[in-house]
Symmetry: C2
Subunit: 359 residues, 2 copies
């Protein structure tokens, strides 16, 4: 049994406020600091820690080194009643995305549908956060982004395409929205450490070694040298190719083809967002009732092992969010301390969190 | 070594004409008979035999038994500048889809984007055929359909969701279009026969037995009793759920939830189609050049085994189509003979094919 990591259970509002104070202390305008921090807190509250507040020091480093612009002004490069091409001018991905999502939804309200392709951006966090925002309670939302090439092509021996995550959100009535959020690799690089620690063989057809051979041994190579295989081989690979063409392709940006190491700076990220009004097709309430009925159908499916359950896409994250809204978001002590350190380094006042949580 | 099955190499035009003559002889209006037959010939010419002329006797049976309407009139249930809800009134899926695709493209030409949700239809063949037609050389095309539930949910013990195939087509310049066409199961039911014949174990996590347990033994059960696992587990499953909501959901039809055997009649099929003008975002030629450049990048990726190659989505089918356009489409003798038998049964004149191919 492993030792439990020390965590604080922090109210989501406090967590988001802490991050915002830190970002603002390093020169990010208050509104943008709040947008950026909330996007990270919302990943933590869904249990997606890899995309949560753990990224604050990384982002601060990008601001300090001039990789991200502190001010984020979007430029409209092209616009029609159903389309937008936007330049994020190197703002942080979440701030660029929040603005692009608002513009996309507004246009979809007017036209029934809108699709935005965005270049000049950076890491945007979780795709599901944006597709949920696009969908609201009356639309279908879709978000995708390209990434540095980290996934092998079928038959390929090294990193070929981005993990190019994409997400659909479809609103239900009684239940949390259906929110599918997937990247095209079988599993994230970080999971190799877990398999190595547990002494479990890697799943079949999930990883190549740096020699290009499929391997199931999590200790054969340095974890960062393994190459991700696309999920469903040519199917996941094909989705990755399509997402590249929907993001950088439509945004008129360069696609990513030079793999320069997992920690290399990307020249830029491209995203795409679309939203479509449900009432362009059918009554919104009736549609959302139908989604409820499908969720209940999925829940009614017989399972192989007693105690198991069929979860619909996004359900596990929604269950965690409901729990952490009640109990606070568990955040590793180190993540909190890193933020407090950054705050201290910029003489920012974070006494509100220290006193409330006895840190 | 297995005995080669007897085949005829038939010019695609002749193949499509033969099927059309047969459909017309059983009461399908000429134009619709030609649309339906061409959709099947176009599957054969891409090497997708399971969706090719082998289906003619099955379709004739559906016409004769009143499962398909011979006349196909689409009813517009709802329309906005970007959306269409259509009722196929139980026409054959390919005829319904051809009409819906034309309406979708026309609307996209006017509005920049159009999305059609269609109910009251039947099996529409390959999704890729429709997304290619939607895309043409200046748009991005997308097609999907629901199906009877044949794919297990993760943790589920039996058939839960449809295989719900979907397809994106993105036009290139120098190369055949990028055409991703995937269903959400790891592999088709028919492949189990092949594994059993070759004595090869089934891939890991591809099939459940009727007991709900994962199995790799292709001879343990009757091939039709195996249950398909979604590709990438929750990822493919989630895509299947989303496609159900984009097809039957938006079309206002019932989703499919009662599995009544692989050969059971479906109450109806629902599809969706969308097309989006590339020039709403960027110059079409520049975009297609970028797709070419990405294809060339994929082709340049190093491979693990000498002689292997990275194929882009749709490339294998495009290579076959080019070859079969030159050499004729190889069609199993039995498939041709079945069509000739049906023609004879309806006193249709198919002498053009008998004399040319010495049948």
């Amino acid at each position: 049994m492993e030792t439990a990591e020390k965590t604080y259970n922090i109210d989501e509002k406090d967590l988001a406020r802490l991050g915002a104070v830190v970002f603002e202390a390093y020169g990010v305008p208050r509104e943008d600091a709040e947008i950026l921090s909330l996007s990270l807190a919302e990943a933590d509250i869904r249990g997606i820690k890899s995309h949560g507040m753990v990224r604050v020091p990384i982002y601060i480093d990008q601001f300090v080194n001039g990789k991200f612009s502190k001010e984020t002004k979007l430029t409209v490069k092209k616009e029609t009643p159903v389309s937008l091409v936007l330049d994020g001018n190197n703002g942080p991905g979440a701030v660029v995305s929040a603005r692009a999502v608002m513009m996309t939804r507004k246009k979809a309200e007017q036209s029934g549908f809108a699709f935005a392709a965005v270049h000049g951006s950076n890491h945007f966090g979780t795709a599901g956060y944006w597709s949920e925002m696009l969908a609201g309670d009356d639309m279908i939302g879709f978000a995708s982004t390209n990434s540095i090439p980290i996934v092998a092509a079928p038959a390929g021996t090294g990193r070929g395409i981005g993990s190019n995550p994409f997400s659909y959100t479809i609103p239900a009535n009684k239940y949390a929205s259906v929110c599918l959020d997937v990247s095209v690799g079988v599993m994230a690089q970080g999971k190799i450490y877990e398999y190595a620690r547990l002494g479990k063989p890697l799943p079949e057809n999930a990883w190549l070694g740096p020699d290009g051979q499929v391997t199931r041994d999590p200790k054969q190579w340095d974890p960062m040298d393994y190459v991700m295989i696309p999920f469903g081989m040519h199917k996941g690979f094909g989705l990755g190719v399509v997402m590249e063409m929907l993001t950088s392709g439509l945004a008129g940006a360069e696609f990513h083809r030079q793999y320069q190491g997992l920690n290399a700076k990307m020249t830029e990220n491209s995203h795409c967002f679309w939203a479509m009004r449900i009432d362009a097709f059918t009554d919104v309430k009736k549609y959302r009732d139908q989604v409820d009925a499908y969720i209940e159908y999925l829940h009614s499916l017989p399972v192989t092992n007693p105690g198991d359950k069929v979860y619909y896409p996004g359900e596990i994250e929604a269950v965690l969010k409901a729990k952490y809204l009640r109990e606070g978001v568990p955040v590793a002590a180190k993540v909190v301390e890193d933020m407090l350190g950054l705050a201290a380094g910029a003489s920012a006042d974070v006494s509100f969190i220290k006193s409330k949580y006895h840190i």
